[in-house]
């Protein structure tokens, strides 16, 4: 059992049914939930689940709301190719938590659309004791954004 970083496959199809709206202000609400290192979150994850989610003092099931201060951006790199990309506009922070069982993944999901999954991101296993866990996002650029949709 292990978590694997991936864009969720169900999310790909849902992009073509306008299920997800990342527009700042008027779009959907996205949340970030943490998962134990023993969980199995990956491309086949279709929605948020409590199975395998961390639990402990100060942590609310479902995680925290993702700050979305910048709508997705689309940039053409040629007449036949380009990139659409999006990154949360602030770090994802869990303050005052105690999570004693090792966790190593965060699921981004759409709490406005039946908690449908967006992506799984992994990192080295962590525990937190009466402290704060912070996930800082990569720069929101065509090559480093958290979510990238690129033509080939």
């Amino acid at each position: 059992m292990a978590n694997t970083q991936a864009m969720c496959t169900s999310f790909l199809g849902e992009l073509m049914t306008a299920t997800h709206n990342f527009t700042t202000g008027t779009g959907n609400t996205f949340k970030a939930a943490l998962y134990l290192a023993s969980a199995t979150m990956n491309a086949s994850t279709t929605a948020y689940t409590v199975t395998g989610e961390v639990s402990g003092a100060g942590y609310s099931a479902g995680g925290v709301t993702v700050t979305n201060g910048t709508s997705p951006i689309s940039t053409n790199s040629s007449t036949t190719a380009g990139v659409g990309y999006w990154t949360p506009s602030a770090s994802i922070t869990y303050t005052g938590v105690t999570l004693t069982t090792a966790f190593d993944a965060v699921l981004i999901y759409n709490s406005s659309a039946s908690n449908k999954a967006v992506s799984v991101h992994t990192f080295g296993s962590q525990t937190i004791t009466a402290g704060t866990f912070t996930l800082t996002m990569p720069s929101n650029t065509t090559s480093t954004a958290l979510l990238r949709l690129a033509t080939v």
């Binding site: 991101h121 004791t129 009466a130 958290l146 979510l147």
Partner: protein, 64 residues
């Protein structure tokens, strides 16, 4: 005098043993800080900076 939130409540940092560390690889840059009291971990915080995107490749098929 800095106060640290611990499993035993707010404590003066000077009473605690402090340990720090970091991990830097292709996936993340992580820093962590721990405070110990008489061999017991009473505070641990971590800060993970993600480095990798997840990328979807899209293609429009040719009309044959």
């Amino acid at each position: 005098m800095a106060l640290i939130t611990t499993t035993k409540g707010e404590m003066d940092e000077s009473l605690l043993e402090k340990k720090e560390g970091s991990v830097d690889n292709d996936i993340e840059y992580t820093t962590w800080i721990e405070y110990w009291l008489d061999g017991e971990l009473v505070h641990r915080s971590a800060h993970v900076a993600l480095k990798q995107s997840v990328t979807l490749s899209a293609e429009a098929a040719s009309l044959a």
